[in-house]
């Protein structure tokens, strides 16, 4: 097991290095000059552009800049924003709790809704409940999240007046207001995930329901809920786990549109604004952060597979023997 983890960790490091290098090159190739963006139209002159380029060390060769940046990044220094002067690390850390909380809440909502719906749908495959759930999931999938966001705003903020339309309250300031502020963005993000997770779980559970151990459980007279959630859910949850892992990575990278609409100060808004402003240092830092999160989460998901399925553990043991 230790060897497997080591191999995976080495692969992970290689992936991160490749991501950081490609990101650096791609961001550098973006049309638009960060210096022109910084200086403003009224002050453009060849001399000013050259002075600022030198000040930001943008006149150095790409390879040298990347090497310097990587060296600093390995020591935890991701640089300072061209536009604001704030350190990249501070910028990300300031926004991370917001994005993290919304992501976790969104996943909770997704799993709390998708697991029972998927299970019932699978158990009554072809029945009326299955048809209703199928219709609902296709409906959720076909509504773009910005439309859903505006709809939720209208219903919960304007008509019912139970949740705030926009803004953010930190948990440490007011826990209730914090949960209220996170609910609408989380619900919006959860909608499409609920649909995907429900569909995946339904099809996997239908297959598992045909297996012998389920027949055995039925013959023992176990209650339906116990069969579904104890004997069928666990072996059917691999696809769900994979998708959830990918989803965590995506959500922690920030959900740009949702953060814009609900005006929450998350990582997605930071990234979008930085791209618009050609604040390349921030873009590189945020992309690297997202890549690390994405790779780490999926690494953990890989490890979880083996705890869910003993066959993977024994397979690893055989491989190492």
């Amino acid at each position: 097991m230790a060897r497997v983890i080591t191999q995976k960790a080495l692969r992970l490091a290689f992936v991160l290095l490749a991501v950081s290098f490609l990101t650096y090159i791609l961001v550098d190739l973006l049309p638009g000059d960060p210096v022109l963006q910084l200086i403003g139209a009224q002050n453009v002159s060849a001399e000013n552009i050259a002075a600022i380029r030198a000040d930001l060390r943008l006149d150095e060769p790409l390879a040298l800049r990347y090497a310097n940046w990587l060296g600093d990044a390995l020591t935890g220094d991701l640089g300072r924003s061209y536009q604001s002067g704030q350190t990249v690390t501070d910028s990300i850390l300031q926004r991370l709790p917001v994005t993290f909380e919304i992501a976790i809440l969104s996943l909770l909502i997704t799993l709390l809704v998708a697991i029972p719906l998927g299970a019932i749908s699978a158990y009554q495959a072809g029945g009326i409940i299955d048809k209703i759930v199928t219709g609902m999931t296709f409906g959720l999938l076909s509504v773009p999240n910005f439309i859903l966001a505006l709809l939720l705003l209208f219903v919960f903020a304007l008509q019912l007046d139970v949740l705030p339309a926009t803004g953010w309250t930190p948990f440490t300031v007011d826990p209730v207001a914090n949960i209220k502020a996170a609910l609408l963005p989380a619900m919006t993000l959860a909608a499409a995930n609920i649909a995907i997770s429900t569909r995946l779980l339904r099809s996997d559970m239908i297959a598992t329901l045909q297996e012998d151990h389920v027949l055995m459980a039925r013959s023992k007279g176990l209650p339906t809920w116990r069969i579904l959630f104890r004997h069928v859910l666990r072996p059917s949850s691999f696809s769900l786990l994979t998708v959830t892992g990918l989803e965590i990575g995506r959500l922690l990278g920030g959900a740009v549109i949702v953060e814009e609409i609900f005006a929450v100060p998350g990582v997605g808004r930071l990234l979008l604004d930085s791209i618009y402003q050609r604040d390349l240092v921030i873009v590189q830092g945020v992309v690297l952060f997202i890549a690390v999160v994405f790779v780490m989460v999926n690494f953990l998901v890989d490890l979880l597979y083996s705890s869910l399925d003993p066959r993977i553990r024994s397979g690893a043991a055989h491989a190492s023997a």
């Binding site: 638009g32 002050n43 002067g85 304007l158 705030p164 926009t166 803004g167 005006a263």
Partner: protein
């Protein structure tokens, strides 16, 4: 409460009383034109005397990068916020003149090559340090005019000298009648030099000014909080600031900002979108909102790069002007019923607005457009080098936003009807902006990398500042996006730079506008509407004054002086 179109309500009435025949004429012309706001005057102003206390939350359009002058990227949102903790040295009064505000006086010498600024005595920054001439000089030398400053262009050819504890001179390398307007905005926001040095790279996140409110906290993309400055220097003891606290919240999505206002999460908000203004008008008619609209000199445009064939030929440019129906463009931009037709760099309320130029501006006339275009197309010596009879082709580049996409569909259809092949492309803001500037390697430098571009132009500043860089010599002015410049332009700009006689300046501005009508470097697509919406009970949003009681410019660009706003239950 009926809606309150600030510029018309306060501006027109005051101008009639205070500024004589010229402004009266402008007023009558503007009223006769029936531009959006003017018909709606008569709404009540502030009720009762100012009341102290209370906290409000204001929704703005965007976050800013930094609060340090020289770094701050200013838009309406940033100025609304910054002028709570900074005081402007000068502001514009309701008749559009730049007058001292934090400064006690600003006087020119005889030939306008030196301006002497005297500060008010006893003014302190929020950190307790005093505002002195030396501080102003350190601001100027160490922050505003360094190569990395985004204000360095304001002060090209300007040096500052300290005369005494409260007096500095700005020494100019050539006369500039319009110099006070250069101090509007961040170039004229003094800040504590000690605090800036102490905070270093973080100075932009810790602004220390002399303003009516003290900067309290800032969570980027979430909120900025300012609290009442109890030691404010205002000459009257019971003067501003009246509020205890203001919370500014950047809410980038326009619809969400309006929804937040309707849900009661905001006390006021800011917008420059026609469709949001239209919705706010409905809310105002129902009495749930009071709105303060402003329509100034800014407008949507199509700018034409006059260095690129066939746009280097005025017949083609004029044909393009006659070939577009401005009403269709306004409609496509979502500004129908909100933004009036524009014809020049000055709105009908500006003293430099020219009725003659408005009448001369090309209006939709497809037949005339076709005649002009055919004349060019059939010309054996046409500038694009194509054989006579060959159709022309234009690249139109706009921002990747729904409004521009809709507008370019109109452009493609109406120019297409003239036989012009129109190629559309869209870019996000930075790329769009930078293509307009071009590169220092082009010939001339910064000639721009485009043919036709969607743009916005027109400023609430002196006409010299508004036009000099936009139409200065192309090889010297990167901001001359159209690259249009000729002897007449140079001559009239020189008048605007050196002549202080109002009549001579108005004549020069008119000559330029008439010239643009004939040369068509810019095609207008309607004015830019601005609006502040506020809940009933928020008083005096547009009635702010200078320390001597002179009425300020109201809600120009949807910016106000929040220090002079108060809450009333009436």
């Amino acid at each position: 409460m009926p809606r309150v179109p600030a510029a018309s309500k306060w501006g027109f009435r005051s101008r009639k009383l205070r500024h004589g025949a010229l402004v009266l004429t402008v007023t009558i012309v503007a009223s006769a034109c029936g531009g959006g706001n003017n018909e709606e005057s008569g709404a009540p102003g502030p009720t009762g005397p100012p009341q102290e206390g209370g906290s409000i939350t204001v929704g703005v359009e965007a976050e800013t990068n930094s609060w340090l002058p020289g770094v701050i990227a200013t838009g309406g949102s940033a100025v609304n916020i910054a002028q709570t903790f900074y005081d402007p040295l000068v502001v514009r009064t309701e008749d559009g003149k730049a007058e001292p505000f934090l400064a006690e006086s600003l006087e020119p010498n005889a030939d306008f090559t030196q301006w002497t600024l005297t500060l008010r005595p006893g003014v302190k920054f929020h950190d307790g340090t005093e505002l002195t001439a030396q501080v102003l000089k350190a601001n100027f030398d160490d922050y505003l005019t360094v190569p990395t400053s985004n204000l360095v262009g304001n002060f090209r050819g300007v040096e500052m000298a300290v005369v005494d504890e409260l007096t500095v001179t700005y020494d100019l390398d050539r006369a500039n009648v319009a110099f006070p307007d250069l101090l509007l905005g961040p170039a004229g926001w003094p800040f504590s030099i000690e605090a800036a040095r102490q905070y270093g790279a973080e100075a932009g996140a810790n602004p220390v000014g002399t303003g009516p409110f003290v900067f309290e906290s800032w969570v980027r993309d979430d909120r900025l909080v300012v609290t009442r400055n109890d030691d404010y220097w205002w000459p009257e003891e019971d003067g501003p600031p009246y509020l205890d606290e203001i919370v500014f919240r950047p809410i980038p999505d326009e619809q969400s900002r309006l929804t937040s206002m309707q849900a009661g999460e905001l006390d006021a908000f800011y917008t420059v979108r026609g469709n949001i203004i239209a919705q706010a008008r409905e809310a105002a008619d129902e009495g749930s909102l009071q709105i303060y609209e402003f329509m100034g000199n800014n407008g949507d445009q199509l700018i034409l790069n006059t260095l690129v064939p066939p746009l280097d030929d005025s017949r083609v440019r004029l044909a393009l002007g006659y070939g577009l129906n401005q009403e269709d463009l306004i409609d496509a931009l979502g500004n129908a019923g909100v933004a009036p037709v524009r014809t020049q760099f000055f709105g009908p309320e500006d003293p430099y607005y020219s009725e003659e130029a408005a009448d001369a501006y090309p209006t939709f006339d497809p037949e005339r457009a076709q005649d002009l275009l055919d004349e060019y197309i059939d010309d054996e010596d046409r500038s694009d080098g194509k054989p006579a009879g060959a159709p022309i082709s234009l690249d139109v580049e706009c921002r990747a936003i729904p409004e521009h996409r809709a507008m370019t569909q109109v452009v493609q259809a109406e120019w297409g009807a003239l036989g012009i092949e129109v190629n559309l492309s869209f870019a996000e803001q930075a790329q769009h902006f930078q293509a307009a500037i071009g590169s220092p390697q082009s010939n001339p430098p910064f000639a721009g990398d485009f043919m036709v571009k969607c743009w916005r132009g027109g400023q609430e500043v002196d006409p010299y500042l508004a036009l000099a860089r936009l139409f200065g010599p192309a090889e010297q002015e990167p901001v001359n996006f159209t690259n249009f410049h000729d002897d007449l332009v140079a001559e009239q700009l020189e008048v605007l730079r050196t002549e202080s006689d109002p009549d001579a300046r108005i004549a020069a501005a008119e000559a330029l506008m008439l010239h643009f009508d004939e040369e068509m470097p810019v095609i207008w697509a309607g004015g830019t509407p601005y609006m502040i919406g506020a809940r009933p009970g928020l008083q005096n949003i547009d009635g702010w004054t200078l320390p001597d009681g002179t009425l300020g410019e109201g809600v120009t660009g949807a910016v106000t002086m929040w220090a002079q706003v108060w809450i009333s239950d009436e």
